[in-house]
């Protein structure tokens, strides 16, 4: 009888409630700056290890040195490196041209393959083949074909970024709900309207996943392409610094790559938030 006593049960509920909500709140992330703590701790440990002489400042320059070098690279136009911002612009230019080229070709091919069996048979085997090709193994071939100028670098980036975007966009187009295609027919949509209103927006969620992977690969291939006989750009700074044994400069260049990579990733996320707002409606229910 004592088990069914309503008073004991009520007491138990009253006690447990605030505890569970508090625990739930902590689990879901807490405050935003909590995510900054571990990187900051790492940075601090790195600095302390350097100043205490635990690691050689030559091999692993402390964050303060890296910062000073960065400031120096930005403010002075040295004969060895040029300026950091100039190198950054060169690298960004390569990424922009290579990526736009690769992305446009990928989307066009995905549409061709996605919309018809003939197109699929013509395009997809080739793209699947390119996908399995070891990308960076192509570098020497590209140099033989296209020389050592801008062209092989841009083409390598284009090829690298085309593949994930193609694969995901193609899968996205094939995954569009066929019933919406029927709807389009009953509404009398033209082929162009069907593409614009049904097929492409339907493939967009997957295409954006591909876009993110593409951007990642584009940056990776930029780093590889630039370290082979470049005469300007971030990769050139790295190969120069390697010769002069200036690890601090290498760290600055790597840092810039990272920041630019994060920026493009953030841009895609922004794009996702804007273009996939209709899905948030589902989550909000």
């Amino acid at each position: 009888m004592s088990l069914t006593n309503p008073r004991t049960v009520r007491l138990a509920v009253r006690v447990s409630r605030p505890e569970t909500t508090q625990a739930g709140g902590e689990r879901h992330g807490g405050r935003w700056w909590h995510r900054l703590l571990s990187p900051l701790v790492l940075l601090l440990a790195w600095q302390l290890a350097s100043t205490a002489g635990l690691v050689s400042a030559q091999k692993l320059p402390p964050p303060t040195t890296v910062w000073h070098t960065a400031v120096q690279l930005v403010t002075t136009n040295s004969t060895a490196y040029g300026t950091l911002q100039h190198a950054m612009l060169i690298s960004l230019g390569r990424i922009a041209i290579g990526f736009s080229l690769g992305a446009s070709v990928a989307v066009v091919l995905a549409i061709v393959a996605g919309l018809s069996r003939v197109g699929e048979n013509a395009v997809d085997p080739l793209m699947q083949g390119v996908r399995t090709l070891p990308l960076f193994g192509l570098v020497p071939v590209f140099i033989v074909w296209f020389g050592i100028g801008q062209l092989p670098k841009v083409l390598l980036i284009a090829l690298a970024s085309a593949i994930p975007l193609y694969l995901n966009t193609f899968a996205g187009i094939r995954g569009v709900d066929g019933r919406l295609g029927e709807l389009g027919r009953t509404l009398g949509l033209s082929r162009g309207e069907m593409l614009r209103h049904i097929v492409l927006p339907g493939a967009l969620p997957e295409a954006l996943v591909g876009l993110r992977q593409s951007l990642g690969l584009a940056w990776l291939s930029l780093v590889v392409a630039e370290q082979l006989n470049a005469n300007a750009g971030l990769g050139y700074i790295i190969s120069q610094a390697t010769q002069f044994l200036q690890n601090d400069v290498i760290f600055v260049a790597l840092l810039v790559y990272t920041i630019l990579g994060l920026l493009t990733d953030w841009f895609v996320r922004l794009l996702e938030r804007r273009t996939l707002a209709w899905r948030r409606g589902l989550l909000a229910r």
Partner: protein
């Protein structure tokens, strides 16, 4: 599936088509809508055909208003679409995303999307099959109101005998790809469910549909 089927629907006539699953009613509807290329035969409609599907079939990445405007080719399409949405009682949801709508609301958008095309023939493919009983009744009244104002011919596919009896001018029973039975209902709407004529017809239709009616007559 279909077998030498001949069906004529008068202008502004409300026809309900009953049939068990597999009787060919979906095939017929898809053939009329131009969605089935394998069906041989002729479909003649003097005007446009609009369809409201069972799953409402709204384009999820288009807001409600854009869904209704989709494929509408007239200069005042936005105003017409707004008018239709107001008519189905969704004035406040013009900018809503389809995924946030309830089943009944989505069906009303689907009806508005059909209406703005000013169809000569409106095909309704079990549009209320997935709705709860109360929403269904509201939707019946809405459909009748829209039909009375716009007067399209309606082909209403359902497996609910009572739904057919309360809405249609003519009820067909499709079986094995043929029209196995048809009868006209001359009663005014709204109809009394227990009206003698309807009670008799209900029994008849249930028999045609091969449903055991013993014990279900009270």
């Amino acid at each position: 599936m279909l077998d030498a089927l001949d069906l004529e629907i008068g202008a502004g006539e409300f026809v309900a088509m009953l049939g068990r699953s597999g009787s060919g009613k979906s095939t017929l509807l898809r053939a009329i809508a131009g969605l089935d290329d394998d069906v041989e035969g002729e479909v003649e409609v003097s005007g446009t055909v609009a369809v409201a599907f069972q799953d409402a079939r709204l384009v999820p990445w288009k807001r409600v208003l854009a869904n209704v405007r989709l494929g509408l080719r007239r200069p005042d399409d936005a105003a017409v679409a707004r008018g239709a949405l107001e008519e189905v009682g969704l004035w406040g949801h013009l900018d809503a995303w389809p995924l946030t709508l309830s089943g009944g609301e989505a069906q009303r958008v689907s009806l508005a999307r059909g209406l703005v095309r000013e169809p000569a023939l409106l095909l309704l493919d079990e549009p209320f099959g997935a709705l709860d009983a109360l929403t269904r009744i509201a939707m019946h009244n809405l459909v009748l109101g829209l039909w009375e104002r716009h007067r399209p011919a309606v082909l209403f596919v359902t497996h609910d005998v009572d739904e057919a009896l309360s809405l249609a001018d003519r009820v067909l029973v499709l079986s094995d790809g043929r029209i196995a039975h048809q009868s006209r209902i001359h009663l005014k709407r709204p109809r009394e469910r227990e009206h003698q004529e309807l009670v008799e017809l209900r029994l008849r239709l249930l028999q045609e549909l091969d449903i055991d009616t013993k014990g279900a007559t009270t």
